[in-house]
């Protein structure tokens, strides 16, 4: 990500010029807070910002059902190949809304900044937020900034919350998976997690893998436009495909059987996982979705997905089954089977 901010254009009045890093005063609610918002955040957000700077945003909403979601982002490092914590914070919430079939409309952005964080880093992150919101077609309507003592936080933490509208007739829920349904994925898995790990301190390894961080509501809209009854949509973020399918299996009571050879995994991701002792099914994604539809609808939905740039690599990876209810099992490349487990916590690279 290039650093193309014009900080010289923001230098008057003093604080942004004279303090190249965040100080406690930027979160104090006084002049410095105002300058940070008016001279950094709002210009960086660009056309996506719709801030009237009141205590709350007043929004026009169409009739129908609203989807409402919130998420917090603490990724380390904050800049990684293919993105940063800023676009992640926008796309993460946009995608959470999209997974209920909603069209995202409005986002809030709340920042917790650690004292000492370079202003230029915050500028880069804010610009990424503005750009991602513009691409996703959502407006940034309210926000908040707090500063914590040096050592109490780690650079930049962001919370986003979003509101979207669900079209009539759409009923998407993890509990709706049924025995016989097809399990689809929109493309290569594990890309985001490996991109982040490839630049994590102490773990740097040469790779061209870039994060897949992207908004998915356009892809979802195209899938719904087929008229097919989409039973389940989920974006397999933390915990990866494994955690997502385990949650769906538990919510619906079905078993899930994956076919390992059908899993789309880039060779570089597969090799990085092999070296680090990680399971690609448990590695995070930020621009992919899992869909569960009736088997007879699978080809029609896959065809629609492949027409969209975010779903070009879509394929069927498994089936919902009556055997082993609430569990996910994979048929291995060699013909054996294994349980695909819910990760316990963070994946830890092995000792040797």
């Amino acid at each position: 990500m290039s650093n193309d901010l014009d900080f010289e254009g923001w230098v008057c009045p003093l604080p942004l010029r004279d303090t190249p890093t965040i100080v406690m005063g930027h979160g104090g609610g006084g002049a410095m807070s105002g300058e940070l918002i008016e001279q950094l955040f709002l210009p960086a957000f660009g056309g996506a910002a719709r801030a009237e700077l009141g205590d709350s945003a007043v929004l026009e909403v169409p009739a129908g059902r609203l989807a409402f979601s919130t998420d917090s982002f603490v990724v380390k490092p904050m800049f990684f190949p293919g993105g940063c914590i800023g676009d992640l914070a926008v796309n993460g919430t946009v995608n959470d809304l999209a997974m209920s079939g909603a069209t995202p409309l409005y986002l809030s952005t709340a920042f917790i900044l650690a004292e000492g964080t370079p202003i230029t880093d915050i500028g880069r992150v804010a610009m990424a937020i503005g750009k991602a919101a513009e691409v996703a077609g959502v407006q940034l309507v309210t926000g908040d900034t707090k500063v914590v003592d040096s050592g109490s936080g780690d650079g930049i933490f962001i919370n986003t919350a979003g509101i979207g509208v669900i079209p009539d007739g759409v009923d998407i829920s993890p509990a709706r998976a049924q025995v016989g349904d097809a399990v689809l994925v929109s493309g290569d898995i594990g890309v985001h997690g490996i991109a982040v790990m490839s630049c994590r301190e102490g773990l740097e390894f040469g790779t061209t893998v870039e994060s897949d961080c992207a908004p998915l509501h356009g892809l979802v809209a195209d899938m719904l436009a087929t008229g097919v009854d989409v039973h389940v949509l989920r974006d397999p973020t933390r915990g990866g495909v494994s955690a997502t399918l385990n949650e769906i299996a538990k919510a619906s009571g079905v078993g899930v059987e994956l076919v390992e050879k059908d899993l789309p995994i880039q060779a570089e991701v597969k090799d990085a996982c092999g070296l680090l002792g990680l399971d690609p099914l448990q590695v995070a994604n930020e621009g992919k979705l899992i869909a569960i539809v009736a088997a007879e609808d699978a080809e029609e939905v896959l065809a629609a997905m492949r027409q969209h740039p975010r779903g070009a690599g879509a394929r069927r990876i498994g089936t919902c089954v009556a055997e082993h209810p609430q569990m996910v099992v994979a048929r291995t490349g060699l013909g054996g089977t294994r349980v695909v487990d819910l990760p316990i916590g963070e994946q830890l690279p092995r000792i040797c």
């Binding site: 390894f205 570089e268 830890l348």
Partner: protein, 375 residues
């Protein structure tokens, strides 16, 4: 970057499986020594493809699993001391000591850090001269050279605030100990390829001769393991007991000479206790006299350690190949990866963890599994 795909080709794997079936005329029990091999076997379902009666016995080669409880408790005691930065590989953090683990020390405010190389710990020592930086040096011959190099560098660079908590163990003495057990069922070994890539294969002919067992040096990918099994079965069927190298892309007879020189400089062989197995003579390394000042055990007051091993845990028998993980009554009930009784259930290379992660469908009633998961 492309390393692994060609070693898991299903067509070639199918051919190897066919050949194993073709040469097998009777039941055989062979031990894969390394925990990485165990996970590969279970994860890919290799044991499900073998002829009936050909049994894979899972060996003690999981470095996390065999680290004695006393050392874990010493690590916990050191990590709690003020002014200490305690560095470890990630998979040691969840291993239970007598009462807690390194994660709980970290969450209680201890400065416990996951590093990916011991040299990262040395860097931390350089950057924090007012703190004591300790690296948890565990593992087999595979991780020992890097740890030896780190101590060597600490001395060379004059970094006084770095030390190593040493618990290194050696594979060949453990193989001998397993064969010496009156309950031993092992008829052949798949030797650990990574260990041999460092140490070479010179120690193995004496074992094949003394115990009349075939030893085939084997890698970790599915085709490596199937080839190791194929060669082992051929030897068993023909009554031979020789050393063979089925991992020649990584292993030479003489091993990695610079790494061995570094090991000899920094460490000396000592008796070591293996968790779940007991003391095995001359089966480990300690810092040699020249580097004794970098010994964390001596530097910190952690001698008064009282260990408390779970009475239910049978990981020692699992590590010796005497029982399979699911044959322990606590498996999947009192003992799960979330609440492990022993290290074999929590280590990424532990046999219990492999069975729980990949095979619990076969070995647990579903109702029990749900109960465990919903805790």
């Amino acid at each position: 970057m492309k390393y692994l795909d060609e070693f898991s080709d299903p067509v070639l794997a199918g051919k190897l499986v066919e050949q194993i079936h073709a040469v097998t005329t009777q039941p055989w029990s062979m031990m894969e020594v390394c925990g990485g091999q165990t996970h590969s076997i279970i994860r890919h379902g290799i044991d499900q493809l073998l002829p009936e009666g050909v049994e894979m016995i899972h060996g003690p080669g999981c470095p996390v699993c065999v680290t004695p409880l006393e050392i874990i408790d010493k690590a916990l005691a050191i990590a709690q001391q003020p002014g200490v930065i305690f560095c470890s590989f990630g998979d040691m953090l969840r291993v239970p000591g007598s009462s807690e683990d390194l994660f709980s020390i970290k969450s209680a405010g201890g400065d416990v850090r996951v590093v990916y190389s011991p040299l990262d710990a040395l860097k931390l020592a350089r950057e924090n001269p007012d703190r004591q930086v300790v690296f948890f040096g565990i593992g087999f011959e595979t991780t020992a050279p890097a740890n030896a190099m780190t101590v060597y560098q600490a001395k060379k660079q004059g970094i006084p605030n770095f030390s190593l908590l040493v618990s290194h163990v050696l594979v060949p003495p453990a193989m001998a100990a397993i064969m010496d057990s009156p309950k031993c069922r092992v008829q052949a070994f798949l030797a650990a390829g990574h260990v041999c890539s460092v140490m070479g294969t010179s120690e193995y002919p004496a074992l094949t001769e003394k115990y009349k067992v075939p030893i085939v040096v084997t890698g970790f990918e599915p085709l490596d393991i199937l080839e190791g099994i194929r060669r082992t079965v051929i030897q068993l069927e023909s009554g031979r007991h020789e050393l063979e190298n089925a991992y020649s892309r990584a292993v030479t007879a003489e091993g990695n000479l610079p790494a061995m020189a570094m090991l000899r400089d920094v460490f000396e062989v000592t008796d070591r206790t293996w968790r779940g197995i007991g003391m095995i003579p001359q089966s480990g390394w300690k810092l040699s006299e020249r580097y004794a000042e970098y010994d964390a055990e001596a530097r910190f007051s952690v001698t008064d350690i009282h260990t408390d091993e779970s009475a239910l845990c049978r990981s020692g028998e699992v590590l010796q190949g005497l029982i399979k993980p699911h044959e322990c009554a606590a498996f999947g009930k009192e003992c799960t990866p979330r609440k492990p009784l022993g290290a074999t259930m929590v280590s990424s290379e532990g046999a219990c963890a492999a069975y729980y992660t990949y095979r619990r469908l076969d070995h647990l009633e579903l109702s029990e599994t749900r109960l465990v998961d919903s805790r």
